[in-house]
């Protein structure tokens, strides 16, 4: 038997095999140690990369709400369609029905896809109508996919377009408050790791790497009803007078909150065009020479200097005055009047005499304290500061013209905020558009002087004032008219800005409204004829909507005590 033969060959073979096996197992163990210990990280990473995916958690942009929670800007998901060019071009017969649904040219789509055939992702159309999206889904084409995206809607449309602004197609704020508060509204997309199977279905959420931070809602101080009212009336006035543009702003005196801020011309924020003229929020971005609406402030400076009292006499005869070779004139010769009537009648001569009796610094200081020449701090992008030159560089004639509102430029909002300070016994507040803003009042003037000026402003809507059409039935109204000629390259042109700045009710001021109509071209251009009626309609509606009690119902009582006319006999309230 071969096993029993004592030849050396089998033994050698046995050892050889043993050695070979030993070497093999050493190699295996070495490799195993290498894989398990040395390269685990790399290999595990590679393995996980085959099925682990990091997925973005989308966030929703916050809504913009008005002061009572009514939506002014809302994001809602819509579908966008994208294609994988390679996949779709493999079966090009799908392009024709797709083009039909999208109402586009099939050849055009095919050309676009062929140009981009190397890519894996091409937007075809974004933000589809829900019906169109449903039809595309029904086509069930290979290589055509729908992606949920958020689209921003502005239910108030053009009424609040300038204040709110709009976003671009990637939901980033471009104008207005959408731009100013973009970070607050936008939120931060989260990131999660999921396990997916071969077909791309998520089978397990493994961990959340970063929580999604949803966008926050933004509550404005705007009241949608007042905004609408102001917009409608402003638009009507601008059309009626053939004006180039117009602005109106309504402030709550006690808090500095902006209740309405409207502009003409406007645009539709749901489909913004890039025509920049209508996009500006003129209330805060555009400056103009205010004209006579500045007189209450220059008179306040004269009162503060202690040189005059409201009943101090001023002789405006003969209705003109010469300052350093320039003639300043009134509409009529008002003769000898008192300081109050300078406001009532809007006398340039009277204002000039008062201003020239002051040191330049005194006038400048009062204007500065009321916030002219500085941004109001309302937090709106692109706000203008206006221009108020330092008093050291004033010439004498400038000091005179500044008293009736020429030689400086202001925004409508500055004028509103300054008028509110006069109405509130000399307490200036920073106007705000966002609810919850802290607007501590700063006392900038002796309350007694502010009260005196406010009383003078009430005479403007009185029987002899220039602003009779600013009256509001059953309420006492104070204000000041302004008509300023627009400066152009060739000096002052016969183009005008009609303004009215006022507040009501006079006995306990609650609301300030400032309106400015730029370049009315249908004949009338006086502030008292163009701007004052607009002020009156806005104020009437606002006082009624906010349930502010009337402070002048002598007229009501008289009307109720009159015998009822026959046709009113059934419906009359006595």
């Amino acid at each position: 038997m071969t096993t029993e033969t004592k030849s050396g060959a089998p033994i050698t073979r046995l050892y050889a095999f043993l050695l070979a096996f030993l070497l093999c197992s050493v190699a295996l163990i070495a490799r195993a140690v290498n894989l398990q210990v040395m390269e685990t990280e790399f290999l595990q990473g590679q393995g996980e990369a085959r099925f682990m995916r990091e997925v973005e958690i989308p966030t929703r942009r916050g809504n913009i709400l008005d002061r009572s929670g009514e939506p002014l800007a809302v994001s809602t998901p819509v579908d966008s369609v994208w294609v994988h060019p390679g996949e779709l071009l493999q079966s090009p017969e799908g392009i024709a029905p797709l083009a039909e649904v999208l109402n586009a040219d099939a050849d055009d789509i095919e050309r676009r896809l062929t140009q981009r055939s190397g890519r894996e992702f091409v937007w075809l159309r974004r933000r589809l109508h829900p019906d169109t999206a449903a039809r595309i889904e029904a086509l069930n084409l290979h290589g055509v996919y729908l992606q949920k995206e958020y689209r921003r809607f502005y239910p108030a449309g053009e009424v609040a377009a300038h204040t709110i602004g709009f976003t671009n197609i990637d939901d980033v704020g471009q104008e207005g408050l959408e731009l100013a508060y973009n970070d607050w509204l936008q939120g931060k997309p989260g990131l999660k790791r999921v396990i997916r199977d071969r077909k791309g279905r998520t089978i397990e959420h493994s961990e959340i790497l970063r929580e999604a931070e949803h966008g926050h809602d933004l509550s404005l101080t705007i009241d949608r009803r007042l905004q609408y009212l102001a917009y409608r009336e402003l638009k009507r006035t601008v059309l009626k007078h053939g004006a180039r543009s117009g602005t109106a702003v309504l402030l709550d005196i006690a808090s500095g909150e902006v209740l309405a801020m409207v502009n003409q011309p406007s645009f539709n924020p749901n489909q913004p065009s890039m025509d920049s003229d209508g996009l500006r929020n003129r209330v805060v971005t555009d400056v103009f020479e205010p004209g006579s609406v500045m007189k209450p402030f220059s008179v306040a400076a004269a009162l503060e200097a202690g040189l005059v009292q409201p009943d101090s006499p001023i002789d405006t005869t003969p209705g003109t005055i010469n300052v350093s070779g320039h003639t300043i004139s009134d509409h009529h010769n008002y003769g000898p009047i008192d300081v109050t009537r300078v406001i009532t009648k809007s006398s340039n001569v009277g204002a000039t005499k008062l201003a020239l009796s002051l040191e330049p610094e005194q006038l400048w200081d009062v204007y500065k304290r009321f916030g002219f020449g500085e941004v109001t701090g309302v937090g709106f992008p692109g706000e203008s500061a206006g221009v108020l030159r330092n008093h050291r560089r004033w010439r004498r004639v400038e000091q005179a013209t500044l008293s009736y509102g020429y030689g400086l430029s202001v925004t409508t909002l500055q004028l509103a905020s300054a008028t509110a300070a006069l109405a509130d016994e000399g307490r200036l507040r920073r106007p705000s558009l966002i609810q919850g803003a802290q607007n501590p009042a700063v006392s900038i003037m002796d309350p007694e002087i502010a009260r005196q000026v406010a009383l003078m402003m009430e005479t403007v809507t009185g029987p002899e004032g220039t602003g009779k059409s600013a009256r509001v039935t059953n309420y006492r109204v104070s204000g000041k008219t302004g008509t300023s000629r627009k400066a152009s390259a060739a000096g002052y042109a016969s183009r005008y800005i009609a303004t009215f700045a006022g507040f009501a009710p006079s006995s306990n001021p609650r609301l300030v409204c400032v309106v400015a109509i730029n370049d009315p071209s249908n004949g009338e251009y006086y502030g008292g004829l163009v701007a004052a009626p607009l002020f009156s309609t806005i104020m009437t509606g606002a006082l009624r909507l906010l349930n502010i009690p009337p402070d002048n119902y002598a007229g009501l009582i008289a009307a109720a005590e009159e015998p009822l006319k026959p046709e009113d006999a059934d419906g009359g309230v006595r």
Binding site: P155, H205, R224, N474, A560, G572
Partner: protein
């Protein structure tokens, strides 16, 4: 000797038990993940529906259309001065 066998047996059972436990909780967590996904989808759908309803409400309650409906269809108007009753506090 018997004590050792007992310890080994107990440990064996414990290992098998915990293995089964792992399998079970794993299964459960998958189930919950699916449920979570469904609920998240439901939530997103509800948010979407809510935003659409808000928009619809805003459009229907638009001051302009309410005003024209009130004036034209219902024949309403702002009361005249004579019909206003002032209550003095």
């Amino acid at each position: 000797m018997n004590v050792r066998i007992l310890i080994v047996a107990v440990l064996l059972i414990a290992v098998i038990g915990s293995a089964l436990g792992v399998v079970y909780t794993r299964h459960q967590s998958r189930g919950f993940a699916v449920q979570l996904g469904e609920l998240e989808n439901q939530r997103d759908a509800a948010i979407a529906e809510w935003s659409r309803l808000q928009l619809e409400q805003a459009w229907l309650a638009d001051a302009g259309s309410v005003e024209s409906k009130a004036r034209e269809h219902l024949g309403m108007k702002t009361p005249e001065e004579l019909h206003i009753l002032v209550v003095e506090p």
